[in-house]
Symmetry: C2
Subunit: 234 residues, 2 copies
C-alpha cells in the first residue's frame, strides 16, 4: 500500500511508481495549504464532510441551512462522481452551492476544491462566507487521505450502517475532529450499539468530539448548531 495516498501498490512496484504516488500527494498538500490561506483571507471556516453514500450528509446540510440562514452565511461545495442533484437541493434552501462532478474519481482533492471556491464566489457574487461546507464524494475510505485545506473534518456514520464501522474504516476517524452519528431516530429498528461506535472511535482518536443526531426529528440539533455557532465566533 502506498503510504502517501492509500492506493494499493503491488509488491513488485518500482521505486518510480512509489515516487509518482508521493509526488501526487505532495502536490495535493501544497494546494491544500494554499486553499487554507485563501479561506483565511475570506474569513471563512471550511468543513469537510466524509462518509459512505447515504449517511445523510445532504439532508443534514438542508436542515442546518434552514436553522442558520438568517444568522450565518453558508456556502456549499458538493462533490459527486456524477449528477448535480445535491447542489440543486442545497440551493432550494437558499444557500449558494456549486457541484463538482469528479467524473469517476473516488474523492475530492485540493485542486478541485480550489476551483470550487472560485466558482462558489462567482455563483454567490460575494467572498463573504462564515462557513463553507465541502460535501465529499460518498466514500469512507479514499477521502480520508486528502487534505482539502479545510479547518474541520467531520466523519458521519448513520445508524443503518452498523456500529462496527469505526474499527473497520479507521483513517476517517483518526483524521477527523468530529464524529456525527446520524439517523438516530432509527435506533429502534437496527442492531446498532451507540456505545460500541463511540468506544471504537475514541480508541482510534481520543480527541474526537462525538455528536448524535437525527435530521428527521432534529433530536441533537441544538448541540450541532451550537458547535457551528462557536466555530464562527472563534
Amino acid at each position: 500500500m502506498c503510504d502517501s495516498c492509500g492506493c494499493h501498490i503491488p509488491e513488485h512496484a518500482t521505486p518510480q511508481t512509489v515516487d509518482v504516488h508521493e509526488s501526487l500527494l505532495a502536490a495535493n498538500t501544497k494546494q491544500a495549504k494554499e486553499n487554507r490561506r485563501h479561506l483565511d483571507e475570506m474569513g471563512a471556516i471550511a468543513i469537510n464532510l466524509i462518509s459512505s453514500p447515504g449517511s445523510g450528509k445532504t439532508t443534514l446540510l438542508e436542515h442546518t441551512i434552514q436553522h442558520l440562514r438568517d444568522e450565518i452565511t453558508i456556502g456549499v461545495i458538493e462533490g459527486d462522481i456524477e449528477t448535480e442533484r445535491d447542489a440543486d437541493r442545497i440551493k432550494k434552501q437558499g444557500a449558494p452551492a456549486i457541484q463538482i462532478t469528479t467524473g469517476g474519481a473516488c474523492h475530492l482533492d485540493a485542486r478541485l476544491v480550489h476551483k470550487g471556491l472560485h466558482q462558489l464566489q462567482h455563483e454567490a457574487s460575494t467572498s463573504k462566507f462564515d462557513i463553507i461546507f465541502i460535501e465529499n464524494v460518498g466514500n469512507l475510505v479514499c477521502p480520508a487521505t486528502f487534505d482539502l485545506g479545510e479547518h474541520e473534518r467531520i466523519v458521519l456514520i448513520s445508524v443503518p450502517e452498523g456500529s462496527d464501522k469505526p474499527a473497520k474504516y479507521p483513517k476517517a476517524f483518526t483524521s477527523s475532529q468530529i464524529f456525527l452519528i446520524t439517523k438516530t431516530d432509527l435506533l429502534q429498528y437496527f442492531d446498532f450499539s451507540t456505545e460500541e461506535a463511540k468506544t471504537e472511535a475514541m480508541k482510534l482518536n481520543p480527541a474526537l468530539r462525538i455528536l448524535e443526531l437525527s435530521s428527521t426529528t432534529e433530536k441533537g440539533f441544538e448541540e450541532w448548531l451550537s458547535y457551528l455557532r462557536q466555530l464562527v465566533k472563534r
Copy 2:
C-alpha cells in the same frame, strides 16, 4: 482522471504518471485472467460483491449459507481495510472463510484474491468449492474498476442508502450482472423509490438482473437462492 484505474490525476500530470497507472491496471487484468483460469480448474464460480459499508453483504452471506450449506459447497474471501470480524461471522455458519485486510487500500485487487484463493484452499483443506463469494471492501467506487477474476459481479444498495445511488455511482452498475436491493423490510421507514432505483440502474445497464430482498424477513430469498443454484448447474 485516470481512465485505467479511476484515480484522479492532476491536469499537469506527466505522461510518466499516466503510464504508471496504466501499468498497474494492466498487471491487475493479467492476474485476474489467471485467477479465472484457476477458478475454472477448481470448478468454482466466483462472485464479487460490491457495495457501500453497511449494505448487508455479510448478513446476506450468513443467511445464504444457512440455506445452502447442505447442497452447495461455499467458501468466502472477506476483504476489509481492518479487522477479522466478517470472516469470523461466516465461519460460525459452518463455511470456510479467510480474511484479507488491505491495511488501508480501498479495494481488493486480483493479486490479493490470488493469495486469498490459496489461503482458502489451505483453510478448507480442499479445492472443491461450488461457489466462492468475494466480499469486497465496503466502497461503491474503487472496487468497480478492478477485475478480480470473478465470474459474476453483484452490486448491492440497501434501502437506507437511498434510491438516487445508481445514478451517482454508475460504474458499479455498468460492470455488474446483478443488482440486489437489500433491507427491503425497511421500505416503510425510508423515502426509497424502488422504481427510481430500478429505472436508473437499467438506464446504465439494460442487461442487469435486479432482485429485491430482505435478510431479516427473507422475503425475496427464494429467487436469490434459485439464481445461485442455477449458477452452480450451468
